[in-house]
């Protein structure tokens, strides 16, 4: 029973679908389905009641139904844009085929479609950027964390710098990153756009620290007895790190990675907004500048999407965390 009531998130839903825990089914149904649904219903009700009372220069604040409507409209716009794109390419192909039929020596050319990115495109861009920034940060943070966790001296040396950089807002980094990327990343035919690099580096700089600190703490907290085992066995440095240090630091490391990913996602939206680089942040900013009667509803759609993606990313890391953790007795949530 407790294991059911303790569950949060996706797992119990899957369990319900899978039909497990039949004996506790009524209670499980109540706990995992009805209670959260009731919570959501109350939230929607309060929102619907409060929204019409908030007047802005763009009309009343959107209620749940307006937002729902704009969500559907955004999806429809995306579908329309894709149809447009397909039609554009089909027209080109037809034209090329026609010209080739008349003149076999004609080299057909295909011009790329240059429509504006839709809401869905912006989501995908944001997801790619956050992944790149997070992966880059992890690749730096984990080795750094291991090094400073293993050596007290290195820890003392790096700790002030880490503590100093940790609370810095992405908005403070952004101008510097933009200038440096503009100066360093110079290419006639860039592989990825400059704005992508800027957002990625900003995300990396901000989400590095929880992983560094957690990894270091995990590494430094290796059980003294296990260290003695390693000494008695005369394990070499690499074997010691691989067989003793890394596995024992794994739970802490994943806890850090999870926090880092959460920060990465938050930072990214802010960075995109300020830097005008493509992504959900830019979508929000564009809607704000646009100032039509639909803008506020569309921004709310983005807000809910950002929240939902953040939640999904967290669940993803939680799943990775429980896979990587050897201590199955801990209750991760």
């Amino acid at each position: 029973m407790t294991s059911i009531s303790r569950q949060t998130g996706l797992k119990p839903w899957l369990r319900l679908v899978g039909g497990g825990h039949r004996a506790v089914f009524p209670r499980a149904l109540g706990n995992v389905l009805l209670v959260p649904l009731a919570g959501i219903a109350v939230f929607l009700l309060l929102w619907a009641l409060a929204a019409p009372r908030i007047h802005t220069s763009l009309g009343a604040f959107p209620g749940p139904l307006d937002v729902w409507g704009q969500g559907a409209a955004l999806l429809e716009e995306h579908a329309a844009e894709r149809r447009e794109e397909q039609a554009f390419y089909e027209r080109q192909r037809a034209r090329n085929a026609e010209r080739q039929a008349m003149d076999p020596s004609y080299q057909p050319r295909l011009f790329p479609y240059t429509g504006s990115p839709t809401f869905i495109d912006q989501i995908l861009t944001s997801l790619m950027t956050v992944t790149a920034g997070f992966v880059l940060a992890s690749l730096l943070a984990i080795p750094l964390g291991i090094l400073i966790g293993l050596s007290r001296t290195l820890y003392r040396a790096f700790n002030p710098v880490i503590q100093l950089l940790k609370p810095v807002s992405p908005l403070a980094w952004l101008p510097l990153v933009t200038m440096v990327v503009s100066a360093v990343y110079v290419s006639q035919d860039p592989l990825v756009p400059k704005s992508f690099i800027t957002s990625m580096v900003t995300v990396m700089l901000c989400c590095l620290w929880p992983t560094v600190i957690n990894t270091a703490v995990g590494v430094a907290g290796v059980d003294a007895d296990l260290n003695n085992v390693s000494r008695v066995l005369r394990l070499g440095w690499t074997t010691h790190v691989r067989t003793i240090v890394l596995p024992s630091a794994m739970p802490m490391m994943f806890a850090g990675l999870r926090t880092s990913l959460g920060i990465a996602w938050m930072v990214l939206i802010a960075a995109e907004m300020l830097a005008q680089s493509p992504g959900l942040g830019k979508f929000v900013w564009d809607q704000f500048q646009n100032g039509s009667s639909d803008s506020l509803s569309r921004i709310m759609v983005a807000v809910i999407t950002i929240g939902a993606i953040g939640f999904l990313l967290d669940r993803l890391m939680l799943a990775a965390q429980s896979l990587a953790s050897w201590d199955k007795s801990t209750d991760l949530r």
Binding site: D223, A224, D225, L226, N228, V229, R231, V232, L233, R234, L235, T239, T243, I244, P247, S248, M250, W326, D327, K328, S329
Partner: protein, 293 residues
Amino acid sequence: MSNYLDISKVSIDFPTPQGPFRALDGLSLRIRKGEFVSLIGHSGCGKSTVLNIIAGLLRASEGGVALDGKEVNEPGPDRAVVFQNHSLLPWLTAFENVQLAVRQVFRGRMSRAEMRDWVEHNLKLVHMAHAMHKRPDELSGGMKQRVGIARALAMRPKVLLMDEPFGALDALTRAHMQDSLMEIQRDLNNTVVMITHDVDEAVLLSDRIVMMTNGPAATIGEVLDIDLPRPRNRVTLAENSAYNHFRQQVLRFLYEKQRKVVEMAREPDDAGASGAASRGGVAGLVHRLGRRA
């Protein structure tokens, strides 16, 4: 070989804010090959410190240890340690835990298949063949300690060092483990140094019991030769007058000659906070005091 393991005039000081704390003072002991020696004494008397110096985990401030004619100055698998709280890697199975030691010690000297056989052989020796592929959190306290012993034995050590190996186990499991250990000892005839706070255990298992005085500046108080014939049986020994005589001598040493008023009232075993406190908290780096499973 009367001095296979030679501990000569070992003293150790731990730094404390109040200046150096002398835990051991001029302790000398010679152990024969194949001998089973128990160290017994009250908590905080430095038994574990002696073991850690033999293991090479701690360096003596004065004096030194020689094993088989070579000076000990760092830890190594020729002095395998069985730790009180098993110290198995929780993310590896019993088999993998022993395998880690075997790979490290016999790398280049055994083939992969030989190593596997040797790991299995040692796990069978401690009666753990049935649970080889379980992880420590799926094993009981006694079973974990068996795996810890298998890991130590698998290193084929010159000396087996046991730091209160059965201290954290319940009485029945402990008796069972002692019988297993005697059985293994009959076959392998290892040189063993064991720390214990259990008088019956010391008399039952040992060839010699070394009784230590209370710290600070602890040293050897008395040494008792236990010349009871082997194999020994705990049930028949209970009525044996020689056995009871030895028990009484150890008890007399501990509770009359080296009586520890404060600690006896509170803490009959060796792992309490009082022990850690009397060591000035320094030895906690190495000793696992107060950390029983």
